[in-house]
């Protein structure tokens, strides 16, 4: 049959955000695919060169609308590495709680979009409703719902609000009940399973070679989680499992994210039980020394990395952001080739694309 190119995007229900996937099809079968990104490029790295270190925190929030807490936290850890600052113990625990809540909220947003993609509107409404629980908690903690501006260089902006510990523990217990319900809802759905199991296989070697990180890597059977392998903040004190799966397909990626939400609930409870008293912020110097700082965290989408070059002034000389999904989406052709056009939605939806951090 004659081969032809189809543009899926930039305006397409499959693309959560603004990007274009060109697929070459032979009948219904995909024979080649070229992702095209850059529609949302805002030049954040260049903007940061003209702002002081503190002014950049709210900008890094805008890197990803789904998980802005991890990005501003990553930026703060990177600059702390450059300045040589040690964060107070209490701030480390507060950061862990905030990041894990953000991870649950981000994964729930992914699950909502994914359910919507696969034609389960009820999954969309349920997950978005329960995401509100954690968004409300984050609002109580930070004062904002999506872009928090909460971590600071040298700690966090505020202490925990009143009753936050009680409400958070209650929320995690509620969430665990709901997760059980989601698992029954999704895995009991024949359509959901048919569109996931065995679709979009990304072999272990390909995943490693293409630089895929995060849930997509762990779904290919590689146990690599920076929270466990290079514990930052207070993760070394936490008892949790790294979620992995050996099936390498869309179902494995779904399963890994569900397991991560279970583990996040555990981490939040442990962190709130162990949280020490004390200061939650120290005052950082305005100017950073000349030198470089390097930070990396486990973002909900993979390995987020930043590299900052200081020149002794109060502005960074260069700030480089490594977006996990930017590298993951370059591996998309490996997952797409050989499957049908109808599977594109499941495969690309299962990657949890976030164009804000992808294009920067």
């Amino acid at each position: 049959m004659a081969e032809m190119w189809i543009n899926m995007g930039p305006q397409h229900p499959m693309t959560h955000g603004l990007w274009n996937l060109r697929v070459k099809v032979d009948g219904e079968t995909i024979v080649d695919a070229v992702p095209e990104v850059g529609y949302l490029h805002r030049g954040i790295e260049k903007i940061c060169e003209g702002k002081t270190y503190t002014q950049i925190i709210p900008i890094t929030d805008r890197l990803c609308y789904g998980s802005s807490m991890t990005w501003s936290h990553l930026y703060c850890t990177t600059v702390e590495d450059l300045m040589g600052i040690e964060v107070p113990e209490r701030a480390k625990y507060i950061r862990v709680v905030a990041i894990e809540m953000q991870r649950i909220a981000s994964h729930l947003m992914w699950l909502a979009a994914y359910a919507g993609d696969l034609g389960m509107s009820v999954g969309f409404t349920y997950t978005m409703r329960d995401r509100e629980v954690f968004v409300d908690l984050l609002q109580a903690l930070t004062g904002a719902r999506l872009t928090y501006n909460y971590p600071r260089i040298g700690g966090v902006a505020h202490d925990l609000p009143p009753n936050f510990v009680r409400d958070s523990i209650r929320a995690t217990k509620y969430m665990e009940k709901r997760l059980k319900e989601y698992e029954d809802l999704f895995e009991g759905s024949k359509i959901f399973m048919m569109r996931n199991v065995g679709i979009g296989v990304l072999k272990r070697d390909d995943a490693i070679n293409m630089g895929v990180t995060g849930p997509s890597l762990r779904a290919s059977g590689v146990s690599y989680d920076l929270r466990k392998d290079r514990p930052y903040e207070a993760y070394g004190e936490m008892d949790f499992q790294v979620a992995t799966h050996k099936d390498c397909d869309c179902y494995a990626r779904y399963r890994v994210r569900m397991d991560e939400m279970w583990e996040s609930c555990r981490i939040i409870r442990q962190a709130l039980e162990k949280i020490p008293q004390g200061k939650w912020r120290i005052v950082a110097p305005r100017n950073a020394p000349a030198g470089t700082g390097f930070g990396r965290v486990e973002d909900p989408r993979g390995e987020g990395t930043m590299y900052v070059v200081g020149d002794g002034t109060d502005k960074p000389y260069r700030l480089k952001v490594r977006s996990p999904i930017f590298v993951t989406v370059s591996a998309a052709p490996k997952m797409l080739v050989g499957y049908k056009v109808a599977d594109v939605v499941a495969i690309m939806g299962g990657l949890d694309m976030c164009i804000g951090e992808n294009d920067r």
Binding site: G38, K46, V222, Y307, K320, R322
Partner: protein, 169 residues
Amino acid sequence: MSEGGKASSAGARDIESAPSRIDANPEDRVLRALAESFPKSVSDGEKVRPGLVRAHIDRSDLYPACRMLRDSLGFEHISMISAVEYDNRFEVVYHITSYSTRLVLELIVPTPKDDPTVDSVSAIWGGANWQEREAYDLMGIVFRNHPKLERILLPKDVLYHPLRKDFRG
């Protein structure tokens, strides 16, 4: 930095007589392997902190060094490729991760200002492909033997490299 490099290379010579201690420490093992395999081009090897090692390498030996890193030392994952412009040089900075030892190697490749060209490592790590395109797009670093060195974030008809310091938007 040169002092730190001398101290660590002297330290590596001291523990040369006790290979078991070197093998127990992945940071030393990587630095020693790099320094012994490419004695002329690797310089300033240092341990920055546990889990992070830094080394400078001349661009002529970048490709063989990266191949050795992946094939013999287990550095399977390229985390990040950054390009930085200084007054007298460009630097391409590779952060390479080993999944077995959880170690990150920060490999710094300086290039002259009038010829920002390095070898592409996308044949070694597929994940380097898009990151090199991004460094070309935004900073104008040319990666030799790259399969498709085109702009990726900016439109194709743009003539400038916006992250350079002489760019005024």
